[in-house]
């Protein structure tokens, strides 16, 4: 094999190299983009859509039917007693919002999920929560709202549409700004 045959010319290979560099650069850009976002934050497709209705048996014995809430601004909060610390942080805020806005056509509804009756009641006693609160033992309501984990909070306008979803502990200021905007917006039609 004294004569080395010219198996290939190197021209196309240079272009291959350039293409490889371009692909590598694109991949690196994607990775850089990936670093700037939170892999756990997933937008809900429900925002802007009609809020699913539900009938919730309450801890205090009554029943809440969302149809009765038509025309009101509703804050739906999904929580569990084992969800520490986020649910414990937001509990007083929710109660405060309820107290401040209950006379102005705003309701707060607590939906307890993936929980047991006794610790859930202890939680309510501990934070002296007085807004309607009930348990969703089969998880149907939470799945209907596309809930990932606790706590999650939805704000529903007077027309029954979900206008906002908050994941994690919510504060009274965050809720108040949403509610105020809806109250200012009039009858509920945007």
């Amino acid at each position: 094999m004294a004569v080395a045959p010219q198996v290939k010319s190197s021209r196309p290979l240079v272009w291959t190299g350039v293409a490889a560099a371009a692909i590598a650069a694109a991949i690196l850009l994607v990775l850089v983009f990936g670093l700037q976002r939170d892999p756990r934050a997933i937008p809900s497709p429900l925002v802007g859509r009609q809020a699913p209705g539900f009938i919730l048996p309450l801890f205090d014995g009554g029943t809440l039917d969302t149809r009765a809430l038509h025309g009101k601004i509703v804050v739906v909060n999904f929580w569990a007693s084992w969800c520490f610390p986020a649910c414990y942080e937001e509990a007083p805020h929710l109660q405060r919002i309820w107290e401040r806005y209950r006379g102005r056509g705003v309701t707060v509804v607590g939906v307890n999920i993936q929980d047991q009756d006794k610790p859930a009641r202890e939680f309510l006693d501990r934070f002296r929560q007085t807004f309607p609160n009930g348990m969703d033992p089969s998880g149907k309501i939470s799945i209907d709202y596309g809930v990932y984990g606790v706590p999650e909070t939805f704000v529903v306008d007077r027309a029954g549409r979900i206008v906002a979803k908050h994941t994690g502990a919510v504060t009274k200021d965050q809720l108040a700004s949403k509610i105020e905007a809806l109250l200012r917006g009039g009858a509920g039609a945007p």
């Binding site: 080395a4 560099a21 590598a24 690196l28 990775l31 983009f33 990936g34 670093l35 892999p39």
Partner: protein, 658 residues
């Protein structure tokens, strides 16, 4: 004290590495410079010595509960057993980088000493590359990921290891194998880059690094196998592979390295594929860095990812630099690299290896693309999508079948040009495969499973055929009895015949995968003590609930008597006579975790695994929720994988000088 010393050693290691790099780069022009080589060696020894001392300091801190160090306080508590204090080194981010650096600098020193006085043009470049990588890893530790960072106030007690890791002994050995595999690919990469940098050598690097590549490949195989086993034993869903980004991260370099091992044989025999092989080694190395990046950056949500941190940008930068450097080196030398050899015929073993490369690379690409595709979609459209197991199974199963057929055909063909004999051989293999497939089909195997098993059979028969053929030829030539002839095959041509054994191991693994994917039975039920449940051919009876307090954890076990068949007769009796096994699935409550970690109990036979998980229990009502899964042929995966690893070790073992 320990923390200060540790930080000092790391800083010294960085100084040594940078110093060595400067010395090696400064003398670039003069070719034979023994002083420079000696200094490079000295730097390698210095870096390794300092990193070793840092590792010793870290282990001392972990074993001795030095809770003034943040890393120790986060990953060890006073109840942590010794084994897991030692293993705490690779239980979290900073420590695992320390381990990585330790393995890397150890291998660097090994290269420096082993090739002392040999390949004098190549080795300085190789050491340059290796020290360059070491500068990055040690630099990360001296900078943002200092494992010896101290707490403002020493903690009274630590938090403890992630309980998923502390719950299984495999955790103590799985990561070191994986790292040895990952880091091991730095050696062929450094030799390839050294070749490109020096611009003088052609195929030398490949012969030198052959054994390194095999060792790295075998370690990575062992790491993947142990990881799958860990997942099976700890995660409690009865599976062993979830196409998790981090599993994918380890699989990709494995696939590329497998392709390289085969195509490097073509280069060695035929002097072909030179550029291709250089590219493969570079890609394999970059994928190991990419894999580390995936694990460490938290860029993709995964069971394994440690934390989200600033380490991501650092790794992306390093990945970018390494990619740019490799590409530049490759492009710069491109005009000088020529394939001198030729192919005789497309009907040859080397042509099949080319095809096998095409399939393996497609598989690696699919895994890569599937893993980062959600990122691409999000970057372009903002939408979140998932690429999960169904996708990977659907795409990779056909590719795997194609690979098996190529493997079988390649083994049956000969180097150079195959002829009538090989055609006949293929005919026999195909015929026997079809016969066995028909038998399997009548035994009830259907659909994709039958096709996959057929491909496995074809491949396995081809390997067995090689042993029969080789030993038969020896018998004719030497008159040896069969066992001696087979033993001599292994002794005289280790890499070839242990290579076939690796193929056979893979056939066993794939049989296990096919089996476990086909006939899975799963039942979940709440049982009171003394009541039974049926699952497949077993009857399970809950015998009670036991709480066993231990030093580091509280174990709640639910002894379950297993009866064969519907077992109502024997299961009705109050004692467990007639039970074929007593399983003890448990939930382990660690101090450091709020949620318990379930520990499944498994009854494993060659035919199937009965896998029982304690999902929940109620001591008041004396009841438990049990989940029972029957998975066929799972144990074949562990057996086959072990065969692959042992055969890999033996293939890489130096043969006795003759």
């Amino acid at each position: 004290m320990i923390a200060t010393l540790g930080s000092i050693f790391l800083t010294l290691a960085l100084v040594c590495a940078v110093g060595g790099l400067v010395v090696l780069l400064a003398g670039r022009r003069s070719r034979h410079d023994p002083v420079r080589a000696a200094r490079g060696r000295l730097a390698a020894a210095g870096v390794f010595g300092c990193v070793t001392l840092a590792v010793v300091m870290m282990e001392a801190a972990l074993i001795g509960f030095d809770f003034s160090i943040r890393y120790v306080a986060l990953n060890v508590n006073r109840a942590t057993p010794l084994v897991f204090r030692v293993a705490g080194l690779w239980g979290a981010l900073e420590g695992s980088i320390l381990l990585w650096a330790w393995v890397l600098t150890g291998l660097t020193l090994l290269v420096a000493v082993e090739y002392r006085g040999k390949h004098s043009e190549l080795i300085p470049h190789v050491l340059t590359v290796l020290l360059g990588i070491a500068v990055f890893f040690v630099g990360v530790m001296v900078g943002p990921a200092n494992p010896f960072a101290r707490l403002p106030v020493p903690a009274v007690d630590g938090r403890g290891l992630n309980p998923l890791l502390q719950n299984h002994l495999l955790m103590a050995i799985h990561p070191p194998f994986l790292y040895l595999g990952y880091v091991g690919f730095s050696i062929p990469y450094a030799f390839a880059m050294g070749t490109l940098l020096s611009g003088r050598h052609r195929d030398e690097w490949m012969t030198i690094t052959r054994r390194w590549t095999l060792v790295a490949w075998t370690s990575l195989t062992a790491g993947l196998l142990l990881g799958a086993r860990w997942s099976y034993d700890v995660l409690g869903w009865g599976g062993y592979w979830a196409w998790d980004p981090v599993e994918n991260a380890a699989l990709m370099p494995w696939l590329v390295a497998t392709a390289f091992i085969h195509s490097s044989m073509v280069q060695e025999r035929r002097r072909l594929l030179r550029i291709w092989n250089l590219s493969l080694v570079i890609v394999a190395f970059l994928l190991t860095i990419f894999g580390t990046f995936l694990t460490r950056s938290g860029i993709l949500a995964s069971v394994h990812s440690f934390t989200q941190s600033w380490i991501g940008p650092l790794f992306v930068t390093f990945l970018g630099l390494a990619t740019a450097a490799s590409l530049l080196a490759l492009l710069a030398r491109l005009p000088q690299i020529r394939d001198e050899g030729t192919f005789d015929s497309p009907f040859s073993r080397e042509a099949m290896m080319l095809l096998n490369n095409a399939v393996l690379l497609t598989m690696a690409f699919t895994v890569f693309f599937g893993t980062i595709f959600p990122l691409i979609v999000e970057a372009v459209t903002g939408a979140k999508v998932t690429v999960g197991p169904p996708f990977f199974n659907r795409v990779l199963v056909p590719l795997g079948v194609a690979l098996l057929i190529v493997m079988g055909t390649g083994t049956a063909l000969r180097w150079g040009r195959s002829g009538a004999e090989e055609i006949r051989k293929l005919g026999w293999l195909g015929g026997m495969t079809l016969l066995m497939m028909a038998a399997l089909g009548f035994a009830g195997v259907r659909g994709a499973g039958l096709v996959a098993l057929g491909a496995v059979l074809f491949m396995a028969l081809a390997q067995l055929g090689e042993y029969v053929r080789g030993a038969g030829a020896r018998r004719i030539a030497t008159g040896e009895p069969w066992p001696t002839a087979v033993r001599m095959l292994f002794a005289l041509n280790r890499q070839r015949y242990y290579g076939y054994l690796i193929h056979l191991g893979l056939a066993i693994v794939i049989t296990g995968i096919v089996g476990s994917q086909s006939g899975r039975i799963e039942v979940q039920r709440q049982l009171s003590v003394g009541r039974t449940m049926q699952v497949g051919g077993y009857t399970l009876r809950l015998e009670g609930l036991e709480a066993l307090p231990g030093p580091d954890k509280m174990v709640v076990a639910a002894p379950v008597a297993v009866f064969a068949g519907d077992g109502t007769a024997s299961a009705g009796s109050p004692d467990s006579t007639g039970a074929i096994e007593l399983l003890r699935p448990s939930e382990n409550f660690y101090r450091q975790a709020r949620a318990p970690v379930a520990t499944p109990a498994v009854r494993s036979t060659w035919r199937e695994d009965l896998y029982v998980v304690l999902m929940a229990f109620d001591p008041g009502a004396q009841s438990a929720v049990l989940r029972a899964v029957i998975t066929p042929l799972v144990s074949w995966i562990w057996v086959g994988g072990t065969v692959m690893v042992i055969a890999g070790v033996l293939a890489a073992w130096p043969s006795r000088p003759r």
